[in-house]
């Protein structure tokens, strides 16, 4: 069995070829991309140790993204379910409305440092696209966002944001017309333009360097949470950290600072969408978008179709880092259906003031399932990683209303 290394950041637990546990990740890319990603790796390794750059990042996180996101107890939901205490790390309160704000901002900062003037990114739910477009505008970069035509229509509010911020939305009409094809098209764009364009991959996927940048950026969430927990409880209490899993970026950020804890102390629970669930349905390892990972495929090895009401989860792959966390037994993965996510949204919004998007609604569903079975001393924390406005139309279609 593969083991995690203690006191080594999760993103750094790869070998010289970019493999985690000899099995996940790697750099399966065209020769044309090799030099640009090698240059990017060198730049990133330099920047993450560079005090001036870190100061700049922190400055942007604080003044541009609005600083620490809130952490609070959901009293009504806790009382209603009558088990564990339920807490919310409300990442959706960030300027930018989702955790994608962190790595969109960092990618724009890195692009600036690299001297490239163009930045390109993929998006499913539109959260990464929107945040990248805003960061690009702020930093005076030309931005292209690749998005499946199915997602362009179901996530229209975010598409408007992207366009208003001055970025170009490139519609991707091939294959399933969702995130998987958007990522492929964005990578093709990079292969053709890597001499002047920085590739910002929207999830913790892709060749080694891309998932490292992503998870490094979102780990701001767990840095804050650790402090907030100690402030609230005086220590790190017995915890379960529940997070939705699509391309894996929010969970890795939410869990990063807690990897070294014993799983009996801090349990990590990932929730996939039921029909896009490679980690919780024992999918095979496959190579997708430059990396080996658990991925849904057909018998022939072609990448399989997925289904989720949530555009951000409608992806057949998973992050190589989640493959590592699964195989080492550090995290456990389950899934929730569209229906369960909708039911969770209904209950949460009836009792509390938060309005989760469809993605974190999956995590809330698992929280609702777990809480009644646990003791009052148990603490459940859910990463409420996205704001619901973007799914307003879908919620109204499915539930008949959208709460105020």
């Amino acid at each position: 069995m593969i083991k995690l290394k203690k006191k080594t950041p999760l993103i750094d637990q790869h070998d010289k070829f970019g493999f985690y546990g000899n099995k996940f990740g790697g750099n399966y890319c065209a020769e044309t991309m090799r030099k640009p990603i090698e240059d990017l790796s060198k730049l990133f390794e330099k920047l993450r140790k560079d005090r001036k750059f870190l100061k700049k990042r922190d400055h942007y996180f604080k003044h541009y993204l609005g600083g620490e996101t809130p952490f609070f107890k959901l009293e009504n939901l806790t009382r209603h379910l009558g088990g564990a205490q339920i807490w919310c790390k409300d990442v959706s309160a960030i300027n930018g409305d989702a955790h994608k704000a962190y790595h969109a901002t960092v990618n724009a900062l890195i692009c600036k440092e690299s001297g490239k003037r163009y930045i390109a990114g993929d998006t499913g739910a539109g959260m990464f696209g929107k945040n990248l477009a805003m960061a690009a505008k702020k930093m005076n970069l030309k931005c292209k966002i690749f998005m499946g035509t199915k997602d362009i229509s179901r996530q229209a509010p975010n598409v408007k944001f992207i366009r208003d911020a001055g970025a170009e939305v490139v519609p991707v009409d091939s294959g399933s017309k969702t995130l998987v094809d958007a990522v492929s098209e964005c990578m093709r764009h990079y292969v053709s333009n890597c001499d002047n364009t920085h590739l910002a991959v929207g999830s913790a996927i892709g060749c080694n360097i891309f998932l490292k940048i992503c998870a490094w950026s979102t780990s701001q969430i767990s840095r804050e949470l650790k402090k907030q927990l100690i402030k609230e409880f005086g220590e790190i209490p017995k915890l379960k950290l529940i997070n939705v899993i699509g391309g894996g970026s929010s969970a890795l950020g939410f869990w990063n600072e807690f990897i070294d804890y014993d799983k009996k102390h801090v349990e990590l629970v990932g929730v996939e969408a039921k029909y896009a669930a490679p980690l919780s349905t024992n999918a095979k390892v496959a190579i997708l978008h430059g990396a080996a990972q658990y991925c849904l495929t057909n018998k022939e090895g072609q990448i399989a179709d997925t289904h989720s009401l949530s555009a951000g989860l409608d992806y057949p792959g998973s992050s190589p880092l989640h493959g590592l966390l699964k195989d080492t037994g550090r995290a456990r993965y389950t899934n929730a259906s569209d229906k369960e996510a909708l039911a969770a949204f209904k209950l949460i919004t009836k009792l509390e003031d938060i309005r989760p998007s469809l993605e974190p609604a999956h995590a809330w569903s698992e929280c609702i399932r777990l809480a009644p079975k646990l003791k009052k001393s148990d603490v459940l924390v859910v990463n409420n990683c996205g704001k619901g406005y973007k799914d307003k139309k879908i919620y109204i279609e499915q539930l008949g209303y959208y709460p105020k």
């Binding site: 070829f17 790697g26 750099n27 399966y28 890319c29 065209a30 020769e31 044309t32 991309m33 090799r34 030099k35 640009p36 091939s174 294959g175 998987v180 492929s184 990578m187 093709r188 292969v191 053709s192 333009n193 890597c194 001499d195 095979k284 496959a286 190579i287 997708l288 978008h289 430059g290 080996a292 495929t297 022939e300 090895g301 072609q302 990448i303």
Partner: protein, 266 residues
């Protein structure tokens, strides 16, 4: 036939022209049609390249994507491809056949099983787009053991140090990507610059057969005729798309196109 790839280059060199290499997608638009197309153009070809279609191709332009899509729609599987290769080699025993694909298709089949099956079917060479150096060292070794040529790729972004290493680990044929792009887009660099890059590789090891691919069309092919070989892919795939659209026979139209390409390098 042993070393048929080397042999193909020798023949072309004797005739003082570059080797002409076609790329089509196996199974485009149907299994039988793709075999008919290849069979009909092979008299003008020195080496035939067949693509293994994959539904997440990260380095292909629109034309090859369309071809792959059609082939997959018509139900092509890896085992069908091996059977078709076998049939092709029976028809044209001396024509070298190279399979080109993405690593996922091989990984899913199993490296060893895939290479053995290639050997049994008569495949002479392999190009794996996303298995680049140095990650492909073991795979290349396994190919060599089974007398299959593993074709290393060199791009305009490849550094000189890396070029030297890649050449060291290369077999009889090297594929030089002409320009920073996916397959099938227009050449971004001048012919002069492409030839300069080509000469860098040739100077290091003159005995290697270096072919140039990406962006080779009727318009550009004659300007690059000093290379050891030239690969035409997207232009042929586009011809198949156009033929199907106009309800014409792709076999005749592709045959005509390849004939024209050949005439330009004679």
């Amino acid at each position: 036939m042993k070393n048929s790839i080397n042999n193909a280059f020798k023949i072309a060199k004797k005739e003082n022209r570059p080797a002409l290499i076609s790329y089509t997608v196996c199974g485009d638009n149907t299994k039988e049609k793709s075999l008919q197309i290849l069979n009909s153009i092979s008299k003008d070809l020195d080496i035939a390249e067949w693509g293994i279609p994959h539904n997440c191709p990260t380095a292909d332009g629109k034309d090859i994507q369309n071809s792959s899509y059609r082939a997959l729609q018509n139900g092509i599987r890896l085992n069908d491809i091996f059977k078709l290769v076998k049939r092709f080699k029976k028809l044209k025993p001396s024509k070298p056949m190279i399979l080109m694909g993405y690593y996922q298709m091989i990984f899913n089949y199993g490296d060893k099983k895939f290479i053995q099956k290639c050997k049994a079917s008569g495949v002479d060479g392999l190009i794996v787009v996303d298995l680049s150096f140095p990650d492909n060292k073991n795979f290349a070794k396994l190919c060599k053991k089974n007398s299959i040529c593993f074709v290393q790729l060199i791009a305009p972004t490849t550094t000189l140090k890396r070029i030297k290493e890649i050449i060291k680990y290369s077999h009889e044929m090297i594929y030089m990507i002409s320009t920073i792009s996916t397959t099938g887009s227009a050449l971004k660099y001048s012919i002069k610059r492409i030839i300069k890059n080509y000469n860098v590789i040739k100077k290091i090891k003159p005995s290697k057969n270096v072919v140039i691919g990406f962006g080779i069309t009727e318009k550009t092919i004659s300007n690059l005729r000093s290379a050891d070989g030239l690969v035409v892919g997207s232009a042929i795939c586009r011809e198949i798309t156009m033929s199907l659209k106009d309800r014409q026979n792709p076999v005749t139209n592709v045959g005509r196109l390849v004939r024209k390409l050949k005439n330009k390098i004679l």
